[in-house]
């Protein structure tokens, strides 16, 4: 299946599921759509050479998916399905946004020119913003449309400057780098452009937040990792420095906030981990990309349990998922952060120290959640039935399997090891 057809599958699954399941009054089954769309990624055409949005010669608009991109789409589809399955409440509209974001994520990951990449980011942000405003109208949802929208606009503008940006440091290359840095920071919710994500974590339900956290943000992170080394120096330096500095500040800030606020602790931990992975990309050292892949894979496994609110019947599964996020070997939370720390170590002491602090904070959050009494379920949350409990145990098994065999699993999912 070609990437463009695969994008159509994501969009079609979302719309079909919303229409059919509403007619059949089976809205709880919307999880089938992302599961089917994700698993169909196994038959998508995958190329050994993943050019990313930098191959500007001839301005071809073809889509090429690499192994990491296909792995992310399959994993995110399954993770989205599990998140919806474990969600205590669904209104059926979540799946439309998830389908649109999935389709856009295929294009983001497969784009070979910057303009197509940034248009796809803009389309995904628009779908998410509309959904969040419809589902939870308020300042957080509005900011979720405004700030990532500005980021997408910056990426669109950067696309016009990128093809001709030369090795010399002039206004044009610096402007391209600055716009790219602003756009990527807004999409990955890095400080000072990340307040919208922290607010959305508290205001928006897990099934609505998951398309950003599990699909769009990792897609932007992966493609930035491809784009960054191929940029001309004048554009690469502002982007790499912004990612490094702001990523570390975001990881530290989100780690502290996760310690303070138990209700939104997991959302803050994901934001901090994504920021840490983005900062590691900014070091331009090779372990950073694999570390980012492993961090994303860990959260694809943990998010279905921890992004949803606490529910009776899932307490033990949630505790084990928190345990898996501690940065101790052989837990899955360790491996990705270890590789990321390696990249910082290669960068020097100045970058390493805040990264060590951030990892320590994230471990403290996991241990606090493990050792404490656990959050009580919200008052109107129904207890989990048999099927969600089984899915919860499967999620835990996937997490610990990843911790015990990170290299073979990363090779199977992303084609790298």
């Amino acid at each position: 299946m070609s990437p463009i057809a695969y994008a159509g599958v994501w969009g079609g699954c979302g719309i079909l599921a919303a229409l059919l399941l509403r007619l059949l009054r089976r809205r709880r089954l919307v999880w089938i759509a992302p599961a089917v769309a994700g698993l169909l990624g196994l038959v998508a055409h995958v190329s050994d050479h993943w050019p990313g949005p930098t191959s500007t010669a001839g301005y071809g608009a073809s889509l090429v998916l690499g192994h990491p991109a296909a792995g992310l789409l399959v994993g995110a589809g399954v993770a989205l399905a599990a998140t919806m399955l474990l969600s205590p409440r669904l209104d059926g509209g979540e799946v439309v946004a998830a389908g649109f974001v999935g389709a856009a994520a295929v294009v983001v990951l497969g784009a070979t020119v910057p303009i197509i990449w940034s248009v796809a980011v803009a389309a995904a942000v628009a779908a998410l913003g509309a959904r969040w405003i419809a589902a939870a109208p308020g300042r957080a949802a509005l900011a979720g449309g405004r700030i990532p929208g500005i980021g997408a606009a910056a990426l669109l503008a950067a696309a016009a400057f990128l093809p001709g940006a030369g090795p010399a440091i002039d206004t044009r290359t610096a402007l391209a780098g600055g716009l790219l840095a602003g756009g990527v920071c807004a999409e990955l919710a890095l400080v000072p452009l990340g307040g919208w994500a922290a607010a959305a974590v508290s205001a928006v339900r897990a099934a609505d937040l998951a398309p950003w956290l599990l699909l769009l943000a990792p897609a932007v992170l992966f493609t930035t990792g491809i784009l960054l080394p191929q940029l001309p120096a004048g554009s690469r330096t502002p982007l790499a420095n912004s990612l490094l500095g702001l990523g570390l500040v975001t990881a530290l800030y989100s780690g502290v906030q996760a310690l303070r606020d138990r209700q939104s602790a997991y959302g803050r931990v994901v934001i901090a981990d994504l920021a840490l992975a983005a900062a590691a990309l900014g070091t331009l050292h090779s372990p950073a990309r694999l570390g980012g892949y492993l961090i994303v894979l860990t959260h694809l496994c943990a998010a279905p349990l921890l992004l949803n609110p606490a529910r009776a019947g899932l307490e033990r599964q949630r505790r084990l998922a928190w345990l898996a996020l501690a940065s101790l070997p052989p837990l899955p939370g360790f491996w990705g952060r270890f590789l990321v720390l390696q990249a910082f170590f290669l960068g020097g002491n100045r970058e390493s120290l805040p990264a060590y602090l951030a990892v320590a904070l994230l471990t403290a959050v996991a241990i606090r959640a493990l050792a404490g009494r656990g959050l009580p379920p919200p008052p109107d949350t129904p207890p989990a039935g048999r099927a969600p409990q089984v899915v919860g145990w499967l999620v835990v098994a996937a997490l610990f399997g990843l911790g015990l065999a990170p290299e073979p699993i990363a090779r199977a999912v992303f084609g790298v090891g």
């Binding site: 197509i116 109208p137 405004r146």
Partner: protein, 221 residues
């Protein structure tokens, strides 16, 4: 066409896109941006390139109107009204349109700086075209930053999409029309989505409310 005229057309297109309000704001903003930037695209890519922003604007206006009509004609579906502000702003001396006018004024020097200092594409003399594109892009960003409702976000997406398409044509020339069309495609999609949502609510307003039954007189004890 002279670069001054191209810049002037872009300025007026951007100004209309910045100031327009109401239920048809997305359609009008997209149409104004498309008309304002057609000359800028034509200056580099010729007639076929000019069609990209122009058709995007016209298609946005047409699809927005068609989606509105279709949603009005179909059965009533409850949902989101894109014109209702998500957050009620506090009463202030200067309303949202005044702030947008100020933003449009501030966008002038910013776009001038870009046109004078940054070369886009191989044509170093196309300052007017670069000014027009940058001005409309700044206006779109300003609308996005000051958005209060979903139709503000849709108008911004339409305007930015058309500006990005024109910018890509300026950079890559007439060979870049397929990719530029993808960016310009944001405008019709945004207008259709906004029109659809507005149409659903127009139908809600037109539905006659069922008369309330008179309370039964209580039997005399």
């Amino acid at each position: 066409m002279s670069q001054q005229l191209i810049a002037t057309l872009g300025f007026f297109g951007g100004l209309v896109a910045a100031m327009v309000d109401g239920r048809r704001s997305v359609n009008i903003a997209a149409l104004a941006a498309g008309l304002g930037l057609a000359a800028a695209a034509a200056s580099v890519g010729g007639g076929p390139a000019a069609l990209v922003p122009l058709l995007a604007g016209v298609a946005a206006a047409l699809l927005g109107w068609l989606a509105l009509r279709a949603a009005t004609a179909m059965r009533w579906v409850p949902g989101l009204d894109p014109t209702v502000p998500v957050v009620a702003p506090p009463a202030a001396l200067f309303g949202p349109r005044s702030i947008r006018a100020l933003g449009a004024a501030l966008a002038l020097p910013a776009a001038s700086w870009v046109s004078l200092n940054v070369q886009v594409g191989g044509v170093a003399t196309a300052h007017g075209a670069i000014f027009a594109t940058a001005y409309v892009w700044f206006v779109g960003c300003m609308r996005l930053l000051r958005a209060r409702a979903l139709d503000d976000l849709a108008a911004a997406a339409a305007v930015i999409g058309i500006a990005a398409a024109t910018g890509w044509i300026l950079e890559a020339g007439p060979g870049a029309i397929p990719e530029a069309s993808a960016a310009a495609g944001l405008a019709p999609v945004a207008a259709a989505a906004a029109g659809w949502l507005v149409g659903r609510h127009r139908r809600t307003l037109r539905r006659p409310t069922a008369p309330q039954p008179e309370p039964e007189p209580e039997a005399a004890a």
